[in-house]
Amino acid sequence: MKKTLFAFVAICGLFMSGCLKDNYSVIHPPPAPGPPKPCDTVSSFSLGVTPIFTKYGCTAVNCHATAGTPGSGVVLDTWKGTNKANNNGLLLPAINHAQANGNGGIFWMPLTGNSLTACEVAQITKWANEGAPNN
């Protein structure tokens, strides 16, 4: 009896020697939020400006597409139309909201009420300030 009791206690001890107390969420804490990404202001019509217009639905029919009836005659799905709007001073005031809504017949865009992010405004502004290249 003593031998087998000793064997049992030894087995208990052996099992307990493999005992850990890990918690996955402590070992792998969620990554801390890093510094905000710098705004990548590439001065490009096709890579920088057009994707922003597409994202906010600006180039939809009856908004600012060539097809249908473009609002205020502004066409944004071609370089030609966008360049024209820029030259006429309609593009930047509509997106940077620097002046009151409707001032001079220029309304804040997009009409959905969502403003472009600061980075997106900076990107379009940079492109316009660099001569609105067709690139």
Binding site: M1, T4, A7, F8, C12, G18, C19, D22, N23
Partner: protein, 316 residues
């Protein structure tokens, strides 16, 4: 002279009386030894249905056990009789185990279960045995088990090899009240080397209750229940975290209340050299860390399943 004779006679009588007492004591001791009968067969086998009982096998015997738990019976849907035969068609968990007892008290075993791909080993020691007259009113058995999962999670949840281990330690106290009725209560501790979420506990404790009522010499009805003393219920977020390998959670209001107390009812049938145990339970897993801690089905919602154990004993 007369006084001396009287004193001698008294001495003889007293010595005689002592001798008689000693003889009686010896006889009583002899009787006691002869009468120190242990209560046998408090339960039919070493398991009730899922849970261990205080029983160990007899000396130098090997027990080969096969256990099955089928899919959810879906009893609320009568059409399931044809569709799944009340869960018999569904995926089943199966456990094969080989267990050996050295001296009627000390038993070891190894097993493999497909649920969570667990290979396990255990040792059990029968510390105290109930006697039918005076002596021990209860039987006490100690249990220790180690479980290794081979599940691949696809992430680094089991980064350390030892994290794959879990353990169970139990103390079980039982009494055979009469020929028909036995009852066992115990305390079980399940330890996980790793748990997934911040509020999860590595050590979980359960109060276990097991009972048997014998209907005939070869048949008994059984029931078992484990009450979770410090469950992890209701604190697990539903998104993020590792690919937790064990059963999925039931989501309510963004939190989970995934695990229920394990309970079973069953029938023991003894035939020749086999013991059949057929029962209904809410647990799918067949190893202690699984059925105590990861039962994600609820009796109250009739999420129950059929199962059976077969035990075959070989003498050496």
């Amino acid at each position: 002279m007369k006084r001396i004779l009287i004193a001698t006679a008294m001495l003889c009588l007293s010595v005689g009386a002592f001798a008689q007492d000693e003889l009686l004591n010896l006889m009583n001791e002899g009787n006691d030894k002869k009468a120190k009968d242990y209560a046998i067969a408090t339960f039919k086998t070493t398991r009730l249905f899922n849970f261990h009982t205080i029983e160990t096998q007899s000396k130098r015997t090997l027990d080969f056990r096969i256990s099955h738990r089928f899919s959810d019976m879906t009893v609320k849907n009568p059409a399931s009789l044809g569709q799944t035969a009340f869960g018999l068609d569904g995926s089943a968990s199966i456990k094969l185990s080989l267990e050996y007892c050295f001296d009627g008290r000390f038993q070891i075993g190894v097993s493999r279960c497909n649920d969570q791909k667990i290979a396990s080993g255990f040792a059990k020691y029968r510390l105290l045995r109930q006697t039918t007259n005076k002596g021990n009113p209860v039987s006490i058995t100690l249990f220790t088990g180690i479980y290794h999962t081979f599940v691949q999670t696809g992430d680094d949840y089991y980064a350390k090899a030892l994290d794959r281990l879990s353990f169970c330690h139990q103390i079980m106290i039982a009494r055979k009240f009469n020929r028909r009725f036995s009852f066992q209560a115990g305390l079980a501790m399940v330890h996980y080397n790793i748990v997934p979420y911040p509020t999860d506990k590595n050590d979980l404790y359960y109060a276990t209750f097991v009972t048997r009522f014998k209907l005939t010499n070869r048949m008994a009805i059984t029931a078992e229940y484990a009450y979770g003393l410090n469950n992890n219920n209701g604190v697990i977020p539903t998104t993020g975290g590792p690919n937790v390998p064990y059963p999925p959670a039931t989501v309510t209001n963004g939190l989970t209340s995934p695990y229920y107390n394990s309970a079973s009812i069953g029938v023991d049938i003894e035939t020749g050299g086999h013991v059949f145990q057929i029962g209904i339970c809410n647990s799918y897993g067949l190893d202690e860390p699984e059925y105590f801690a990861h039962t994600n089905k609820d009796w109250m919602q009739t999420q129950i399943r059929l199962g059976f154990n077969i035990s075959r004993v070989f003498d050496f």
